[in-house]
C-alpha cells in the first residue's frame, strides 16, 4: 500500500532522513521504533507532505505522493495523528471532529461515521460541546484519533499515541489501535513503548540516525538482542 524508497528529508540544510526504505502492506499494523531524535516524527511529517522530501520516492497505492500538498495526501487516504495530539484546544470536541472530516462532503454517510466513532470513543460523546483544551490527556488522544478517523483514511499514521498517558489509558489506546486495524484500516505506528507496539505489529522497523537499522516481524524484533538492549530496557 505504502512504499518508501531512498527517502531523504530534513529542515533547511540539515538532513534528518538519509535514505529511508520501508513498506506498509494493506491491512497490517507496521510499527516504527527508534530512540529520541532518530527522525520518526520527521518521517511521518514527510509522508504527510508537511516536511518536504529532498530525494527518494513515496508510493501510495501506485501514486507518487512525495511532491503532493498535505491536503491532497489526506484526500488520497493518508491521515496522521500527530505527536502531542495537537487537537484544536479552543474549538469544541465536535468542531474538532468536523474538521477531521474537512475533505469529505457532508451528508448521511458522514453523520453515520460520526456516530460510529462516538461509539468507539464514548468518552467524547459526553463532551461534544466542551472545548478540546479542557479534556484530559487521554481524552485528547481519543479525540485526536477520532478526528483523524473522520477523514475515513485507508492508512493512518500514529505518532506516539501513548506518550504521557496514565497506564490505564495506555491500555485503552493500544486496544483502540487494534480495533481500528480490525476495521480494515492500515496503520503505521510510531511508539516509545516498544514492547506494546511490537506485540501488536505484523511487521516492524527500527529507525536510527535517519536510517532503517533493523526490520522484521514483531516477534522477530522482540527476540532481537539489539532491540532488547536498546529499546526494551535490557
Amino acid at each position: 500500500m505504502l512504499k518508501v524508497t531512498g527517502l531523504h528529508s530534513g529542515y533547511g540544510k540539515i538532513e534528518i532522513l538519509k535514505g529511508v526504505k520501508l513498506e506498509v502492506p494493506a491491512g497490517k499494523i507496521v510499527t516504527l521504533i527508534g530512540s529520541n531524535g532518530a527522525g520518526k516524527t520527521t518521517l511521518l511529517m514527510t509522508l504527510s507532505g508537511i516536511v518536504a522530501s529532498k530525494k527518494g520516492s513515496v508510493q501510495f497505492e501506485g501514486y507518487s505522493i512525495e511532491r503532493l500538498a498535505p491536503d491532497a495526501i489526506v484526500r488520497l487516504g493518508i491521515t496522521q495523528v500527530p505527536e502531542g495530539r495537537r487537537v484544536f484546544a479552543h474549538l469544541t470536541v465536535e468542531e474538532n471532529l468536523d474538521l477531521g472530516a474537512y475533505t469529505r462532503t457532508p451528508g448521511k454517510e458522514l453523520a453515520h461515521d460520526k456516530e460510529e466513532f462516538l461509539d468507539l470513543f464514548p468518552a467524547l460523546r459526553e463532551r461534544l460541546r466542551h472545548l478540546a483544551g479542557n479534556l484530559s490527556g487521554g481524552e485528547q488522544q481519543m479525540l485526536a484519533m477520532a478526528r483523524a478517523l473522520m477523514a475515513r483514511p485507508k492508512l493512518l499514521l500514529l505518532d506516539e499515541p501513548s506518550l504521557g498517558l496514565a497506564p490505564k489509558m495506555v491500555d485503552l489506546v493500544f486496544d483502540l489501535i487494534q480495533q481500528i486495524n480490525e476495521r480494515g484500516i492500515t496503520l503505521l505506528l510510531v511508539e516509545q513503548n516498544a514492547l506494546r507496539a511490537l506485540e501488536l505489529a505484523h511487521y516492524a522497523y527500527v529507525l536510527e540516525s535517519g536510517r532503517i537499522q533493523l526490520e522484521g516481524s514483531g516477534s522477530e524484533l522482540l527476540a532481537s538482542p539489539t532491540v532488547i538492549e536498546a529499546y526494551l530496557g535490557g
Binding site: S48, I50, P70, D71, V74, R75, T79, H90, E95
Partner: protein, 305 residues
C-alpha cells in the same frame, strides 16, 4: 455647549468613527491571526472601497429610485463595493503575498508598502489627486437631545456594521470555512494534517477582511462627504492600532479597539484640538507596544464576537 454636552456629542461622533475603524481592524486582525501576516496594504482596500462605492453610486443613481428605492439602492452599493474589495483583496494576496510564503518575515511587509503605493497611485490617476465629493446617498435627518445631536446616517452606519459583524461571527463560528480559519489560527500544521487547503483558507480570509474594509470605506465616504486617495493611510494606521490595542489576532478585540480609538479621538478633538486628534492613536500604539504588547484581550482569533 456645556462640557457635558461636548462629552456626549464627542462620544457619539467617536463611536461612529470607531465603528469604521473597527471595520478595518477586523481584517488586520483576521489576516494576522490566520495567515500570520500583517497586511499593511489593508488601509488601501478601505480607501478603494470609498471610491468604488462612489463610482457605483454615480453609475446607478440615474435610474431614479425614489425614496423607497433607497432601501434597495444603499444595500446594493454596499454589496457591490464589498464584492469589488474582496476581489481586490484576493488579488493582492495571490500576487503579493502567496509567492513569499517561505520568505523571511520582512519580505511581505516591504511588498505591502509597494502594493499600498500602487493602489494609491492607481486611484489618484483614475480620480485625480484632489478631494472628491461624496454625495449624501440618503437624505440626512438630525435628532437633537438638548445640545447633543446625532443623525440617521450615524444610526445606519451602526446598524450596517452590526449586521456585517453579526454575519462575520456567523461565518467564523458556524461554517466549515470559519472552523477551518479558527483551526488554522491555532495550529497551521495540524490544520494541514486534517486536509484543510491552507492556501485557499488564507485567500478566503483576505476576501472576508477586504469585504469588511470595503464596507468601512463606503461608510467613511457617506459620513465625511469627501474622500481622498490618501485616506487609507491614516485610517489604516489607526485601525492597525485598534487591532493591536484589542490584541492582534483577536476578533472581538478589534471591535473593542476600534471603538476605543474612535472615542478617544473624538474626545481629544472635542476637548483639546482637532489638529492633535491623529496623534492620540499613535501615542496609544506606542504605549501599548511598551506596556501591553499582547493587547487588552490577548492575541487569539477564536473568541466569539
Amino acid at each position: 455647549m456645556s462640557a457635558l454636552d461636548i462629552f456626549f456629542q464627542q462620544i457619539i461622533n467617536g463611536l461612529t468613527l470607531g465603528i469604521i475603524y473597527a471595520m478595518i481592524a477586523l481584517g488586520y486582525t483576521m489576516v494576522y491571526g490566520i495567515a500570520q501576516l500583517i497586511n499593511f496594504a489593508h488601509g488601501e482596500i478601505f480607501m478603494v472601497g470609498a471610491y468604488l462605492g462612489l463610482t457605483i453610486y454615480l453609475a446607478i443613481q440615474g435610474f431614479a429610485f425614489g425614496p423607497a428605492g433607497l432601501v434597495i439602492l444603499v444595500p446594493l452599493i454596499f454589496i457591490f463595493t464589498m464584492l469589488g474589495c474582496s476581489a481586490l483583496g484576493a488579488l493582492v494576496e495571490q500576487t503579493a503575498y502567496r509567492p513569499l510564503h517561505n520568505a523571511p518575515r520582512l519580505a511581505p511587509l516591504i511588498t505591502a508598502i509597494g502594493v499600498s503605493f500602487l493602489l494609491q497611485n492607481a486611484v489618484m490617476l483614475l480620480y485625480g489627486p484632489q478631494d472628491k465629493y461624496f454625495p449624501n446617498l440618503i437624505p440626512i435627518h438630525r435628532f437633537s437631545f438638548g445640545a447633543v445631536t446625532f443623525t440617521n446616517l450615524q444610526m445606519i452606519i451602526a446598524a450596517a456594521a452590526l449586521i456585517l459583524m453579526g454575519l462575520l461571527n456567523l461565518v467564523i463560528m458556524h461554517t466549515r470555512t470559519g472552523k477551518a480559519m479558527r483551526a488554522l489560527a491555532e495550529d497551521r500544521q495540524a490544520a494541514y494534517l486534517m486536509g484543510i487547503p491552507v492556501n485557499r483558507v488564507i485567500t478566503q480570509t483576505f476576501v472576508i477582511g477586504s469585504a469588511m474594509a470595503g464596507a468601512g470605506g463606503l461608510m467613511f465616504g457617506m459620513y465625511y462627504n469627501t474622500i481622498n486617495f490618501h485616506d487609507g493611510y491614516l485610517a489604516g494606521l489607526k485601525a492597525f492600532t485598534a487591532a493591536v490595542l484589542g490584541g492582534i489576532g483577536n476578533i472581538p478585540g478589534a471591535l473593542i479597539g476600534g471603538i476605543l480609538i474612535g472615542v478617544l479621538e473624538g474626545l481629544g478633538a472635542g476637548y483639546l484640538s482637532s489638529e492633535w486628534k491623529n496623534v492620540f492613536a499613535f501615542f496609544i500604539l506606542i504605549l501599548i507596544l511598551l506596556f501591553r504588547p499582547q493587547g487588552l484581550l490577548g492575541t487569539r482569533v477564536v473568541k466569539k464576537l
